[in-house]
Amino acid sequence: MTGLGDLPVWAALLTGFFLILGSALTLLGSVGLLRFRSFYERIHAPTLGTTWGTGGVLIASIIFHSVLQSKPVLHEILIALFVTVTTPVSLMLLARAALYRDRSEGNDGVPPFEMAAESQDEQPRSSGV
């Protein structure tokens, strides 16, 4: 039904590669989200999906559509841009909120508010995944 037939194989291979790369990275991110112990570790995981995970799929999409329509189809770049700009916003707000909640509940493993330059004495926490 779609004109997949007249897509050159190299393009198909490239598309497939990036597609699977991107989604694999995203999956990894989610796995990390699932397996990491503390919230502050988990917060790192989704960025896999939002950076190169998204990137991979977008590149695949760009290649695919550009070759298929034999003209540059670049509007996926916008998605990349928007994701890169918006994800930090939510993550920053979320992390700060989590920090506040942990502090107000006096949970351990969170730094005190003190921000004196020499207050680098926070104990790094050792943990497996």
Binding site: P88, V89, M92, Y100
Partner: protein, 972 residues
């Protein structure tokens, strides 16, 4: 004047007079009286003038079309019997008016009295001269209503209110029964016309419905005529002003019942059922009424019970089914009207002059008011059936009928004895009235010094008593011919031979009369001393008070019972209502499926896509989780709801509905923010408080609800699956797909449907959105947070406290630090989203997008700024006027729609073509796009209005608390 017009006038005049009287000033006593008197007198003259035409034509009719298709026309019909009553009603009415003028005190709002009086008279005339059964019911009910107003005239005392209510309730019930009965008669006869009904007596009597008809009609007649067992309302009606009693209980109200019995006598009488029901009621009323009358202390009470008794006599006569009985009944109707009216007026005079009607307090009044006393004596003698008075004649006829055997039965054998007994009682109470009021020694403690009343107060009595005398001495010359016309008009060919002679020789009836007179006299002599000091009401029956029973029943049925029923048949709680709704809907859907043998279609697992299944696994978890968590973890539930929405979007995309996915996504975002805004005003709820204390009942309720939920879900699944797997019908969609581009000017068929083919739906849809936004706005204008929400959220308090506690920081640092960096990005996204919205709008007609999604996107841009910087900051810079956006949007949509009128096309006719613009090339220009602009504008306005109105509550709260603080300072 033609008979038609005078017939109509007889009805119209009284009501017109009533209207005229009601607008008279409250103190216009004479004006009202003169008006009423004039009306009554004219009616009397009209009636009298009818006699010749009634005499030679028998029946005079006048028909005015009213509801022909329902067989209900204004048919007025005057015959001898109706004529007789018309004369009685208007004549006695005239006399009562004169009497009332002097009876009523200047303090009373007399015009209202005469207004009701005239209206009542009109209704009564209507009853007697209406020639259509339903019309008769109309007037019948009117008499009930106006008698209600007349009895309750002195509504400041409770007895009047109760009497009026009881009268209306009983007679109202009767009237409704009468209506039902007449409906059945109409069903049999095929017409409500009186003449046709009177002509089809045999048909009716032989019909299966005869007994129901009889019962219903008698219900009407007995309630009206206060016949046993419906008699008890009448004595309570004595709370009415005496003129009212004199009118209602002599010639009119109560007479309506027996009038009806006589009127329908040819149709209903003569059967076994008729004899038994009517006869029994009549005899009971006759004897018991007379017996009760003896023991009344109140004169009017005595007269009331005697009325019941005399009407019982008439009913008894009619029950016999013999023509002679009917003659006697009609004759007694006349006589009773005359003497009873005069007696009531006399009672009124006594009350008026002495200030009391208690026969134990009264006495020896003969010395003070000889004329009145004489008149009263003559009248009550007539009531007792003393010879040479009219009462005697009809009583004689009654005795004669009583002994004559009709249907062989106990009732029949009892009749003579009952007749004598009742008559004896009548003699006794008449004697008591005369003796205890006018003779004996005068008690000391009379409220005021009695003397003769003014002439015009006595004049009506004189006339009536004169009538009693004349009729009693020379019946043949006076009442004879009129009675004959009346009788023939009722009985027609069946009219028997009868003589009105005073003297028939030494007959059994004569003997019975003597017996009754003697017995009554003796009875009174025996009871005299007892009656002088007994308490009110008859011995043995004192406990059994009809009206108390009635009141009890009324309260039990119409109040307590009703409340109980309402509470079990209905509910005021929401959950049961929703439960019922769901159950009903489920049954409604399941019933046809069950009835027509439903086959859900075979399950096919083919084409089952793992990805899709996985997506829906996510969706299912989200839905169930939301249902599970919504009580204690609102935020969690909200997030899960979002998840379910996301899965819905993916489904839309999967099954080729990109527009739906777009819209759903944007709505998701806005809804989430909206509910979050609301969450702040809901009470804190923690799981551990109420968890685990669920009672068994609660648990059972939960299981029931769970079952219902599962049932509904399964039902939806089955039906959806069934429809999806059936072969689709030929839908109207093909037309849209074919015409969307060629005639709608767009490639995105969904959008073309929305803005063109079915643009009218969108038109209404945006109106809904606008209305809701306005409602939300209006509601929040009056929003008042619950006490536990008034202060700012815990987090803000903690953070402020923290900032204030530290020397290096000041209040608000935390939040400003918090938003410092993110807000930069969110600001820069503002124009980006605007451009994106423009993009969505522009492409709508040809590709997924359109005014609605564009609108929400733009709204999101605004909301993002509010999120980033707070309400004040934004509104210092941006002045969004959402209400105007809404109004503008609606107007644009309406104008675009109406624009097509200019070209003579129907509303919302779109026009699209490509316009060649310099250096831009051909661009699509469809009026549909303009319409979409209206949509866009409205959506922006509505969405922003709702969210911002909600957001404003926080500021409102701050302002309120500030005001509160100030006031506290002022206090301190």
């Amino acid at each position: 004047m033609t008979d038609d017009t005078s017939l109509i006038l007889m009805i119209v005049l009284p009501f017109a007079g009533s209207l005229a009287a009601i607008i008279l000033p409250t103190n216009a006593r004479n004006a009202a009286a003169i008006l009423a008197g004039a009306v009554a007198f004219i009616c009397l003259c009209l009636a009298v003038m009818f006699y010749p035409s009634v005499l030679d034509r028998g029946v005079v009719r006048s028909d005015i079309e009213w509801l022909p298709t329902l067989g209900l026309d204004v048919t007025l019909r005057m015959d001898g019997f109706a004529w007789l009553f018309a004369v009685l009603i208007s004549g006695i009415g005239f006399l009562v008016v004169i009497y009332a003028r002097y009876y009523m005190s200047p303090e009373d709002p007399v015009p209202r009295f005469f207004s009701f009086f005239l209206a009542f008279m009109g209704s009564m005339l209507g009853v007697v001269i209406s020639g259509n059964l339903i019309l008769l019911v109309v007037f019948w009910e009117l008499t009930s209503i106006f008698s209600f107003l007349l009895i309750g005239y002195w509504h400041h005392n409770a007895s009047a209110r109760d009497g009026a209510r009881m009268a209306l309730t009983i007679t109202g019930i009767g009237g409704i029964g009468l209506l039902a009965g007449f409906l059945l008669i109409g069903l049999i006869v095929g017409s409500y016309d009186l003449d046709r009904v009177l002509a089809s007596g045999n048909l009716i009597r032989s019909h299966d419905l005869y007994v129901p008809i009889l019962v219903l009609v008698l219900l009407g007649a007995f309630t009206k005529s206060a016949q046993f067992p419906f008699h008890f309302w009448l004595p309570n009606a004595m709370a009415a002003p005496t003129p009212v009693s004199a009118y209602l209980h002599s010639a009119t109200m109560v007479k309506a019942g027996v009038f009806l019995l006589a009127r329908l006598w040819p149709v209903l009488a003569g059967t076994y059922e008729w004899f038994w029901i009517v006869g029994f009621a009549g005899m009971m009323s006759f004897v018991l009424g007379a017996y009760f009358a003896i023991f009344q202390r109140d004169i009017k009470g005595l007269l009331a019970y005697s009325t019941i008794s005399h009407l019982g006599l008439i009913t008894l006569l009619l029950s016999l089914g013999s023509p002679l009985g009917a003659v006697a009944a009609i004759f007694h109707m006349i006589n009773h009207a005359t003497f009873k009216a005069s007696l009531f007026m006399a009672a009124g005079i006594i009350d008026h002059e002495t200030g009391t009607r208690d026969m134990q307090r009264l006495g020896g009044l003969f010395r003070f008011m000889p004329y009145t006393a004489t008149l009263a004596m003559v009248a009550s003698a007539a009531m007792a059936g003393v010879p040479l008075l009219n009462g005697f004649l009809s009583k004689e006829m009654f005795f004669a009928e009583a002994i004559a055997t009709h249907a062989d039965s106990i009732l029949d054998t009892a009749a003579p004895y009952a007749a004598v007994l009742g008559s004896a009682f009548a003699v006794a109470y008449s004697a008591r009235f005369i003796h205890s009021v006018f003779f004996g020694l005068l008690p000391a403690d009379l409220p005021r010094e009695p003397h003769e009343p003014p002439f015009f107060m006595r004049f009506p009595i004189q006339l009536l008593v004169l009538a009693c005398l004349l009729v009693g001495t020379v019946p043949g010359l006076t009442v004879g011919p009129f009675l004959h016309t009346a009788v023939t008009s009722v009985l027609g060919p069946a009219t028997p031979e009868y003589s009105l002679a005073v003297w028939h020789g030494f007959t059994i009836p004569l003997f019975m009369s003597v017996l009754a007179l003697a017995g009554g006299a003796i009875l009174y002599l025996l009871l005299k001393d007892y009656l002088a000091r007994c308490e009110d009401g008859p011995p043995y029956f004192r406990r059994l008070r009809g009206q108390r029973v009635f009141e009890r029943v009324m309260v039990a049925v119409s109040w307590r019972g009703a409340r109980f029923l309402e509470s079990i048949l209905g509910t005021r709680r929401l959950q049961p209502q929703l439960r019922l709704l769901i159950v009903v809907a489920f049954i409604a859907a399941a019933w046809p499926l069950h009835r027509l043998g439903f086959d859900p279609g075979r399950l096919t697992v083919q084409g089952l896509d793992v990805t899709f299944a996985g997506i829906w696994a996510v969706g299912v978890v989200c839905a169930l989780g939301a249902a599970w968590q919504a009580k204690f973890h609102r935020l969690f539930a909200l997030i899960l709801l979002g998840g379910a929405g996301l899965v819905t979007c993916i489904t839309f995309v999967w099954f080729s509905a990109p527009d739906l996915a777009l819209t759903q996504l944007l709505v998701e975002v806005v809804t989430a923010v909206l509910i979050l805004l609301g969450l702040r005003w809901l009470p804190k709820r923690s799981a551990d408080v109420t968890r685990g204390v669920a009672t068994t009942g609660a648990r059972l309720r939960r299981y029931r609800d769970l079952a219902m939920a599962v049932a509904c879900g399964t039902g939806m699944t089955i039906i959806a699956y069934a429809v999806m797997t059936r072969t689709p019908p030929v839908t109207i969609a093909d037309f849209f797909l074919k015409k969307a581009y060629s005639e709608g000017g767009g490639k995105n068929v969904v959008n073309v449907i929305l803005v063109d083919f079915r643009g009218f739906d969108t038109f209404g849809e945006i109106t809904v959105l606008g209305i809701v936004a306005l409602t939300v706005f209006a509601l929040l204008r009056r929003f008042r947070p619950a006490p536990d929400n008034v202060e700012s959220p815990e987090q803000q308090r903690v953070q402020r406290a923290f900032d204030e506690a530290r020397p290096d920081r000041e209040a608000g640092d935390t939040v400003s630090d918090y938003l410092l960096i993110p807000s930069v990005i969110m600001q820069w996204l503002f124009p980006v989203i605007i451009v994106f919205a423009a993009y969505l709008f522009m492409r709508g007609h040809d590709l997924p997008g359109g005014g609605f999604v564009a609108g929400i996107a733009l709204a999101a841009a605004f909301i993002l700024q509010y999120l980033a910087e707070g309400t004040r900051w934004v509104e210092d810079r941006l002045r969004v006027l959402p209400v105007n956006w809404i109004g503008f949007g609606l107007l644009v949509a309406a104008l675009v729609g109406a624009g097509s009128w200019l070209f003579g096309y129907p509303f919302l006719t779109s026009y699209s073509r490509y316009v060649e613009l310099p250096l831009i090339g051909s661009v699509p220009a469809a009026t549909a796009t303009l319409f979409d602009l209206g949509v866009f504008s409205l959506v922006v306005g509505a969405t922003v209005l709702m969210l911002i109105a909600l957001a404003h509550q926080s500021i409102r709260r701050l302002r309120a608390s500030r005001i509160a603080a100030q006031s506290n300072e002022e206090i301190a």
